[in-house]
């Protein structure tokens, strides 16, 4: 935005216009996280309740830490923050590198899960 004629400019920016800041701007132009793989269903939890102001962290980083006071999957974080998954992966990499979140990777992917997991899922679904 140019800073002039904001009153006019704003009428074009509503929820339907999508984010004003491009996803790459949120990650500082980075397409890959500094660390981690981050499956869509990797579960994320914050390691602390608040984050001190720190160089290199943007509002989206802080929003993730806020969201992850409750356990969330990567997909849920992306949906709630309305950011593409690729962008969220980059931000999570930054947070992991600073020990601000912990990640639980999903069940190993090579084989179908253990019998006990199947049983738990069936019982859980029946109880719905």
């Amino acid at each position: 935005m140019t800073g002039q004629g904001d009153a006019v400019g704003h009428q074009w920016i509503d929820d339907h216009a999508g984010p004003v800041v491009r996803p790459y701007a949120v990650t500082g132009g980075r397409a890959r996280p500094v660390t981690g793989r981050f499956d869509l269903i990797s579960l994320v939890t914050a390691t602390r309740g608040d984050v001190p102001a720190e160089v290199g962290l943007g509002p989206e980083h802080l929003a993730i830490v806020g969201l992850c006071q409750r356990v969330q999957s990567v997909a849920e974080i992306a949906a709630h923050l309305d950011l593409p998954v690729g962008t969220v992966r980059v931000l999570l990499g930054d947070l992991v590198a600073r020990n601000l979140v912990r990640i639980r990777e999903p069940h190993p992917t090579v084989e179908l899960p253990e019998y006990s997991i199947f049983e738990a899922v069936i019982n859980g679904l029946r109880a719905l």
Partner: protein, 198 residues
């Protein structure tokens, strides 16, 4: 801090997540099915992809890369403190197979939703899961006004392996969707046992 139902104190073990895919043609009711059993309203997540000439016109000489957004709707069922199940609706367009690969990796299996008025729409999903060896069941969504077919007729029309369970389903009804999911998990369990024994 006030720890609510699904919050846990720092240091507690995180639950494990697993997923089931809901596949089928465009408009067949995938998101409806997710919503029928999810504890949250279905959420939407987007992947921004750079297309490198998959199924698009030949743009030889044009350097600009195209980006496409692939949207996936999903829901969540908390099974226990240790286990969370996610249901992902697969993107409808066939050209996004690489997104399917990511989704299918580690999935327990898939429910393929079929509409008897447009049965061919679910062929690509069935081919995909057969090819990958991903356990799946076929749920025939009972749209109002759609002619009812017998399950064996659908099975024959889809040329399915007789082992693949086929069931009638109403994607709007929680009980019906639950039954489809339970049938899938039981089927996946049998396949796992068979693979171990074999």
């Amino acid at each position: 801090m006030d720890y609510g139902h699904s919050e846990r104190p720092p240091g507690a073990a995180l639950p494990t997540a697993i997923k089931i895919l809901i596949a089928g043609g465009f408009g067949v009711g995938k998101t409806t099915m997710v919503g029928a059993v999810s504890e949250t309203r279905p959420l939407r997540t987007e992947e921004v992809l750079t297309e490198s000439g998959v199924g698009i016109d030949d743009l030889a000489g044009i350097e600009a890369k195209r980006t496409t957004t692939v949207a996936m709707d999903f829901g969540r069922i908390t099974i226990s403190d240790d286990l969370v199940l996610y249901l992902f609706g697969t993107p409808g367009q066939d050209r996004f197979w690489f997104v399917w690969d990511e989704l299918a990796l580690g999935a327990i299996g898939a429910v393929v939703l079929a509409d008897t008025r447009r049965l061919a729409d679910c062929f690509p999903s069935i081919d995909y899961f057969e090819g990958r060896g991903t356990p799946f069941v076929v749920a025939v969504n009972c749209f109002e006004g759609a002619r009812r077919y017998r399950l064996d007729e659908v099975q024959a029309a889809l040329n399915l392996d007789p082992e693949v369970p086929v069931l009638l389903c109403d994607a709007r009804q929680r009980e019906s969707v639950k039954q489809a999911l339970i049938m899938l998990v039981e089927h996946a369990m049998k396949i796992r046992e068979a693979r171990r024994a074999g």
